[in-house]
Symmetry: D2
């Protein structure tokens, strides 16, 4: 159950609501920034009418789903995320590119040059890498973050990188412009709350077998702490199919666009695990209505320290970008034409 407070609610009215609830034995929570207070399920539906009458209460919502603040029911217009002149969620889709993992300065600068020369504004690169085996390369960690900062300084590219633990949130936020929550942590709720309490935008990747309810429920954990700058990311789900590493589920793109105001981008690199089909699936993602794509590229893919089979070769990457830029231009014209 969610209690929606009036926008200009006074501190007194707010405290009064909390005290009233407490008197009836109900504990309620709600972050500083939040306009919502939530109650324990199965306990207070009978109180609905009573609470609605309290001053400062706009509505009492008995949620039958796990999310509300991220839905178009709550906010009909698209959320636009603006970072240093780049807009995510607007008319023009964005491209994020970079290596799977930060390896060393050379690799990072070479890649950054490629990425920048293709007209891209945001670079990816993992410093903390969650890996199935404890014996795999798990990232350069803080040293990797410093390399990312250097890239940012030298090139002006914005940086997105993954954070794995509540203890590292502040550190990662210092070295990056967007914090990434990976698939394996989509339901690490303590981590979601932690990134919800800081100010940088967050990219939330869909879990391997996440339903829509679970995906948006996880975004709700972030927004409920006060951080509205959330980018969703489809990156493939687990199915019986074995010709792709995961099954990139583009169907979720138009579904999300309909029910949520948050931008959604697509990661065909993890989503398919095959560099030969990434260009085709990138174009398909944009055609399905995605607000952008995120792809892996490496100066020398076979030498990549992780996931070498899904990094694009430089020439493949440039060819793909040319095609994508054409398509974006076409889409812009088509949409202008259809509006006029």
């Amino acid at each position: 159950m969610i209690i929606k407070l009036q926008k200009n609610i006074s501190r007194t009215d707010r405290e009064n609501i909390v005290h009233t609830l407490n008197r009836t034995g109900i504990e309620c929570e709600g972050s500083e920034a939040s306009l919502f207070i939530h109650l324990r399920e199965n306990r207070s539906i009978s109180l609905k009418a009573e609470i609605e009458k309290l001053p400062g209460v706009e509505a009492v919502i008995v949620a039958d789903q796990s999310y509300y603040l991220v839905s178009r029911e709550y906010q009909s217009e698209n959320t636009l995320i603006r970072i240093d002149g780049v807009t995510i969620g607007g008319a023009e889709p964005i491209v994020i590119a970079g290596p799977c993992a930060v390896e060393n300065q050379d690799q990072m600068l070479q890649t950054a040059e490629m990425v920048k020369s293709a007209g891209i504004k945001i670079m990816r690169g993992g410093a903390f890498k969650p890996r199935t085996s404890p014996y795999s390369f798990t990232g350069l960690e803080e040293k990797g973050l410093q390399l990312l900062s250097e890239v940012r300084q030298h090139t002006g590219l914005l940086i997105i990188t993954e954070v794995l633990d509540t203890a590292d949130v502040e550190l990662v936020a210092q070295h990056s412009d967007i914090l990434q929550i990976g698939s394996r942590n989509m339901q690490n709720y303590k981590l979601l709350k932690a990134v919800g309490r800081q100010l940088k935008p967050v990219m939330l990747k869909r879990g391997m077998s996440a339903t829509l309810e679970e995906f948006l429920g996880s975004a709700e954990y972030i927004i409920n702490e006060g951080n509205h700058q959330i980018i969703l990311c489809e990156r493939g789900i687990r199915t019986f199919v074995d010709y792709t590493r995961n099954t990139l589920d583009l169907n979720i793109v138009p579904v999300i666009k309909k029910i949520s105001h948050l931008p959604i981008i697509v990661d065909p690199s993890h989503g398919t695990g095959r560099r030969d089909i990434i260009p085709a699936m990138s174009l398909a993602a944009l055609a399905a209505g995605a607000d952008g794509i995120m792809v892996e590229v490496h100066p020398d893919p076979p030498a990549s320290w992780s996931d070498p089979e899904q990094a694009l070769y430089p020439d493949q990457f440039f060819h793909m970008m040319e095609n994508i830029n054409h398509f974006i231009q076409w889409r812009k014209n088509a949409s202008t034409a259809s509006r006029s």
Copy 2:
């Protein structure tokens, strides 16, 4: 094991090969039209060298997968299917549209008019409908086929319709231009052989949980009987996802284009089961490289006798077609530009 015969093999050489195999206790099969003879697995690998020496034998292939004739290994250039001036598998993608089921003359003529006015050349419509429940509407059967023939006569549209049983193959072939094998029958091998022995093109829909090996293995059953005019169709797979009826798996499109010379089209109507996302997923299918799409449209979707939630409304349909035609035009220009 497959024995590839020389193209100009004499009847005597062919008979000699068969007799030689029979003498060693091996029975072999091979349709009249086929250039291939196959042997029982686990039995004859040791004979490979011996058979290769026989006159008329071009090669002996110990297949480690279920298909060969449908692969690019066997034929590198694309298969083009030409029917009355329409080409499937060529530079320009095709659109097939029509109702889920043939209901009556009015519905068919109204729909045909819409389809035709949108510039479409091929119309779909089910006369035999496989249904989960024996108590559901299972199609007008022969009467439905006659209505399809009427449409063809009045409008010049080509007709595609499903065949469910070996006993009906001839009848369905009389009333249609393309025979459809539905998902539920993708592994009905007797039916696949039957449509492989007649002359009309066949559209083979992917089974709900078919692997690539199984999908192409089923196409191989058809081609092995002599019919090379096969169109593959992706129509959604079964996963844990519940916001779409099935999970339309566009990833298979570029994968198939790489390993097979057969055209592949996409059916977003069954693939998603939601008319609100069909336009987006249709465009995505073409962007992924599909040779066409097949969609359901109905003059009055809520009154549709089957699958009412996935039929497009007329205005939705026309709007989508406009967008698709723009995209096809763009893709043609883009590909011309990149060639020049």
Copy 3:
């Protein structure tokens, strides 16, 4: 919609119902033996009250699911299938064993001896084998059926074997005691109707991605033609898991026992594809409440013409049977004890 007729309905009353429906423009079907007439969906719910008043009508059921006759709603007590003194669906679970495919007389007689000496009454063996590749061994066909008949004559074992095509139903029924519908044909509705119109019991295997609704809907196709002797068979579903060939889904056993009166058995050979875990999963199937199991055994598994990795070795088989017989004895005692 189903019209349930009274058991002693007169021909006149029946015809009257049909005519009344026809006059209102509704065509209805119903096999000779059936007590049910069904109507097209989406058309006749408004007629419910009217039809209920006609003489001979016991009830009008607007089915919200695909099955009714196979449910406990229609028949509360278990269906018992009795063949020559063997009862399927009763207090004692049954075991069916035999090779994947009929290969030759020697193999069949050796296996039959093993099977019989383990106290088993029903033997399996495929004469028609559906295979992913057209180049695989697809069974000895009619010659295989004759070998099965010989086994039956020499040993007194009952025979179960698969039928693939409507055209072969009569032939297969002559040579066997139970007709098997394989997973790939679970939704081959013409075949289901055909086996529903003959008199021998039918074993219906679950499709690879069949829901409960689809599985029981397919059984309903058979029972609706008049054949009530149906054995359901769980044989593994398709999931992301790769340590087993399929994911044997034992959960369906207690679910089916609750909602259907039909017996259900489990095939851990196809369900897991691994002979090392078949004994454990066989016991688990019986513990879950299955009415029996069906396993593959071969005198020399590595030489098996199909699926060699899932056939039990003779000593494994005997050891497993000993364990199973102990368990069956224990279960019988436990259930006697709990009744007293």
Copy 4:
């Protein structure tokens, strides 16, 4: 790559190995307690021969899978976990029971009494509850842990409860005898390492779509930190099936028993989500060879604060326990008989 050190390796030899590696530019890690040092993948296979010659090195293992220490290759005999006279992984399977969530003292003491009177030694109960929605009841947290401690003191029952965050590991370990890592955190590697560094046994639940490789890889993260007391738990995977909340995959039980020395138990409550089939699936789990089961029971299931549909009613629970105890007794006799 794993370097297996000799058991009695001197500090000097160990340091020498580390320095040698560092000189060649390779950083290596290894916890205090560990006998293993691991290297970054893709970099050092060429050094294998050289490293093998260093004093103190027993073997250099180039792992082609994500786990080694949890495998039978490393330790052939079963791991036995002994806590206060209870043994997990031994001849006799264990039962763990209790409510989904700790709600209040009354509920806990009532349930504890039931659990104890059924002869059970270990009680479950969640104080930290990960929930899809931020608006759901997420547990009493520290207050819940105190209630668990009270139960332990009053009844002598051992306690298992979930830990969600590295920051809470010490606190949860104080109030419980076994720490549970839930499905959503199976790949929260920081948390796995944290529980690997403390001394209490850990129960690791399988992730919703975890492969065998991923499941055992996660266990390897724990054991690699020095904690060998790990209990695996199958709790259902995500598939297309909708008649159960998840698909309880019992097949993994005999597979795990074969390749790993760790005990594995089964949670049919989360695995099926249906109390009506939990007794059948519990027995099936034990028949498949599980080392135990964990079930949810509540004095008044419909009033349960979370997952009310999967908690057993008291009488259901007692009846099930009677049946299970009979079965355990039978299995013990059967195994004694087969050994003699």
